[in-house]
């Protein structure tokens, strides 16, 4: 289509068809044509944003067959009628210059040739069969970010192949948190921000690691006078809605929580009745907390003891309408060596507050249940018995890590060790978004077979033997999903832009056919979608017209914890059994700054989701207008080092040296240097955002935390020196 060659936001927005229609008329002037083009009727088609995990409901406004703009769906619980910068910009991915337009085969370093789908399927199937014959399914893995459609299709194919190693992106995200909650409370409860009186955010930033509803929720809570304590080495923009910013030494949140528990117990501020009824191991826990006084924690965290007392008492006096927010990646989902135990402490402090299931405390979700395909007509492959190749569930390796998450960032290392031979990567970019990119790219290339399925080129795709192009969010209909007490679905807003791209269900079904596993895919995506929404009394037509449809909320469940003991495990027997501390103890982070170095921390900016966003031309322009790629350094330390705002500095760890400009600020702890996380793309095939800014992963070694296996992405110190003005 010639129209695709035009940049999207030129004022001439018309397709070939419109131009021809106008051209055929009596009058043809550019002005007339423009007028007709811009006055063309607009249709609104429901879709879901695909720029971050929130997947906001949106309306795609289509004019002349091309996307004009998007607006938020009011009934969607994440967007609530609004969209962020990523959402407004990201829908144009359909027209992006960096799209993968054909199935591609790597024939040399950074050298790919387009091939047919038929060739791609046959060669992938043949190579995968060879790996299966030589090594069995134990050495085959699949990594993705689980979203409704791929979460159905890919694991089903991998099960048919016999592989157990299905991984999500979480070891670079929230595995520390999720493993901790699984073994402590049996799952994650979330803070009831709307009703709480006193809430402590540890690193988590609702207005920059945002969904529209999380930012709105924080603003609303602040406006009505909620006590909001933001503990973070950085004065993030969330502090606009904080009653207090508490700067903390990087990686020491565990010490703060130990001291909060100490005060709650010592001053008898905890909920004894709740603990008696719902917790196991309180006596051991109490004993464990005895020495962690605020005075001790103050020396570890750099927070005044008086502040720690005030936080503990604020939580205790407002319970049960008080809580420690559940966290995400920050501060410890995958960032520090003490991450898993830190989140065990979040769960335990909330237990001391007796806030589970209470207004203003921590609440478990209770989503409506979707249906599934009739298993008699559409038999699913048997559950694979293969051993996992990422060490998850294996004694002596990572026995307690979540099998549905796995340890994605260690697969390149495993490939180099010969423990993995074939891998499939769907729409995650481990090679850029996990630590030590040189190792990651080398490892992926060491596989016998590496297949990447994605929309745009990425650092990971550059390592693949085969790259399979999917069509973008605006071009496809997906499987439905629930959001709150509603069901929602992405529908196709425009025709496929590049004719050789396909929606995922077709790709997986056809690949399965070539593997001789077609019997497990004897249905269409629509069959699956219809079966999913049927029990909720919703039809696909409803979703195609309304986007998001409210359904009846399931009846409230009585409070309960899905752990082995059915209680909150303050003392965790499973941890004891595997040689981990059953009651959290203080463990220092690996990274500690001295007078010449900084702990390199990172975090999101509201207009970027990881590095994928910086390849968006609109979001890249936002960053460039504001010089937002700069490294933050505390003003006092900068002064001592002779560094001024805007200076160019060299940042070095034993692994890498990079140059970046500096933002000198009072808004960061003196021992931390903050690097926004969404920069530093290096894939040679990308035309947008490459070489702009630097990435924290360059400095950090690729490792796995002992319990949950996460990537410990902030465990690195760097030295900084001025090299230019």
């Amino acid at each position: 289509m010639w129209a695709n060659k035009f940049p999207r936001r030129t004022f001439l927005k018309a397709t070939a068809a419109t131009a021809a229609a106008v051209g055929a008329g009596d009058v043809f002037s550019l002005g007339e044509w423009m007028k007709q083009a811009s006055a063309a009727p607009v249709t609104k088609i429901p879709s879901l944003c695909e720029t971050c995990s929130a997947a906001c409901g949106m309306w795609v406004h289509v004019k002349n067959g091309r996307i004009w703009k998007v607006t938020g769906q009011k009934d969607h619980g994440q967007s609530k009628g609004k969209l962020c910068a990523r959402g407004h910009a990201g829908i144009a991915q359909a027209y992006h210059k960096d799209r993968i337009t054909h199935p591609m085969k790597r024939v040399g370093e950074n050298d790919f040739v387009p091939i047919t789908w038929e060739q791609a399927y046959s060669e992938i199937a043949a190579k995968l069969k060879k790996v299966l014959q030589e090594h069995g399914p134990d050495k085959v893995f699949f990594s993705h970010n689980p979203r409704p459609t791929n979460a159905f299709y890919w694991p089903r194919l991998m099960a048919a192949v016999g592989s157990s190693t299905i991984q999500s992106h979480h070891s670079m995200c929230s595995t520390g948190r999720d493993v901790a909650y699984k073994w402590t409370t049996g799952g994650m409860a979330t803070a009831d921000l709307g009703n709480t009186k006193y809430i402590v955010f540890l690193g988590r930033n609702y207005v920059e690691g945002l969904s529209p509803s999380s930012a709105a929720g924080m603003e609303a809570a602040y406006a009505k006078g909620t006590n909001i304590i933001v503990v973070d080495p950085r004065h993030s923009n969330a502090c606009l809605f904080a009653t207090e910013w508490v700067p903390i030494r990087p990686g020491t949140d565990l010490a703060l929580l130990l001291a909060v528990a100490n005060v709650l117990i010592a001053e008898n501020l905890y909920d004894k009745e709740f603990v008696d009824e719902w917790c196991v191991g309180f006596d051991e826990f109490k004993k464990g907390m005895k020495d962690y006084t605020p005075e001790w924690a103050s020396s570890v965290t750099d927070i005044p003891a008086a502040t720690i007392y005030a936080i503990a008492r604020g939580l205790g006096k407002n319970r049960p309408a008080s809580c420690i927010e559940q966290g995400y990646k920050a501060p410890n989902g995958c960032n520090y060596a003490n991450g898993t135990q830190m989140f065990r402490m979040v769960a335990c402090v909330n237990a001391l507050l007796g806030n589970y299931g209470k207004a203003g405390g921590m609440k478990f979700g209770n989503p409506p249940k979707l249906g599934s395909l009739d298993a008699k007509k559409h038999p699913a492959p048997p559950k694979p018995k293969a051993k996992r190749c990422d060490g998850v569930g294996i004694k002596g390796e990572f026995p307690l890590c979540q099998p549905n998450q796995g340890i994605v960032h260690m697969m390149p290392q495993r490939a180099l060790e010969g423990k993995a031979k074939a891998g499939f990567l769907y729409r995650i970019n481990v090679a850029r978004n996990a630590p030590q990119p040189e190792l990651l790219t080398k490892g992926y290339k060491a596989l016998d077979l590496f297949v990447v399925c994605d929309i745009k080129w990425s650092e990971s795709a550059m390592c693949a033997h085969y790259v399979l192009p999917e069509c973008s969010a605006a071009e496809r209909e997906d499987l439905p999903t629930v959001v709150g007490a509603a069901v929602t679905m992405r529908t196709a807003a425009i025709d496929v832009v590049h004719s050789e791209t396909k929606p995922l269900p077709e790709i997986v079904t056809e690949l399965a056919g070539h593997m001789g596993l077609g019997k497990y895919f004897n249905f269409t995506r629509e069959d699956v979608a219809a079966a999913m929404v049927k029990p909720l009394g919703v039809t696909l037509e409803d979703l195609r017209t309304k986007g998001t449809v409210k359904v009846k909320a399931p009846a409230a469940k009585p409070l309960g914890f899905n752990t082995k003991s059915k209680k909150i495990e303050m003392y965790c027997q499973a941890f004891a059994d595997h040689g981990y501390k059953p009651v959290p103890e203080w463990e220092p982070p690996y990274a500690k700054a001295d007078k010449n170095s900084f702990v390199l921390i990172h975090g999101k900016q509201g207009f970027l989701s990881h590095t994928t966003s910086i390849s968006d031309p609109y979001l890249l322009a936002v960053a460039k207008r504001g010089d937002l790629e700069r490294l933050w350094i505390n003003a006092d330390r900068a002064k001592k080092m002779g560094i001024r705002d805007g200076d160019l500095v060299e940042v070095s760890s034993p692994q890498a040296t990079r140059k970046v400009r500096v933002k000198v600020t009072e808004r960061v702890h003196p021992e931390a240097a903050y690097l926004p996380a969404g920069y530093g793309r290096f894939a040679p095939f990308l035309k947008t955002g490459v070489g702009y800014g630097i990435n924290p992963n360059d400095f950090t070694p690729c490792r796995a935390e002992a319990i949950s296996g996460h990537a410990m992405m902030m465990e690195v110190t760097v030295t900084i020196r001025k090299v230019g003005e």
Partner: protein, 177 residues
């Protein structure tokens, strides 16, 4: 005839840039052209810093300095009190760009004309709010009619002030800072 205006509560602006990009999409601008820009200010010392982000755009001044400098009358005040640029009359001389003390005018290179915030008049005529207002995540923006203020807009109006009144251009965009 309504006199359209906007109030921006900078204390609620989290710097997410949603308004900037929504505006670009609504007005079909390229990535390099934006009608909304930002200035931020940090005060105080660690560990007690203060931070404010101020979204800036055409202030729709009552004494708009961009109007008299325009040689073709493209820059003009419309019947709703808005400062608008007539695309067909603008010849791209850019005299108005430095005339604006708020630096709120944008030269669109591809079209060879100058434009600025038009209060999304096409949306407003359909009974909707401007794109930046409807997408603001933290409701930091309020749109309304100065002659007939209603709802939240009316409530905020008492607190809202002109930004840099010393410029003497009498903006109708108002701020809470």
């Amino acid at each position: 005839m309504p006199r359209y205006a906007m109030i921006i509560d900078a204390k609620k602006c989290v710097g997410c840039y949603a308004c900037q990009v929504a505006c670009q999409m609504q007005n079909e601008l390229g990535p390099e052209n934006a009608y909304i820009r930002f200035e931020d200010r940090e005060t105080g010392k660690y560990p007690n810093p203060k931070y404010v982000m101020v979204p800036l755009q055409c202030q729709h001044c009552q004494d708009a300095p961009c109007v008299p400098v325009c040689p073709t009358t493209a820059s003009h005040k419309d019947k709703n009190g808005l400062t608008m640029v007539d695309k067909d009359k603008c010849m791209g001389c850019r005299r108005c760009v430095p005339a604006c003390p708020y630096n709120a005018r944008t030269y669109l290179k591809d079209e060879g004309i100058v434009q600025a915030c038009n209060m999304c008049l096409s949306l407003v005529k359909q009974g909707e709010e401007p794109a930046c207002v409807s997408t603001c995540l933290t409701k930091a923006r309020y749109f309304g009619d100065l002659d007939n203020p209603k709802g939240e807009f009316a409530k905020q109006l008492a607190k809202a002030k002109q930004l840099r009144p010393d410029f003497g251009t009498k903006p109708t965009l108002l701020y809470i800072i």
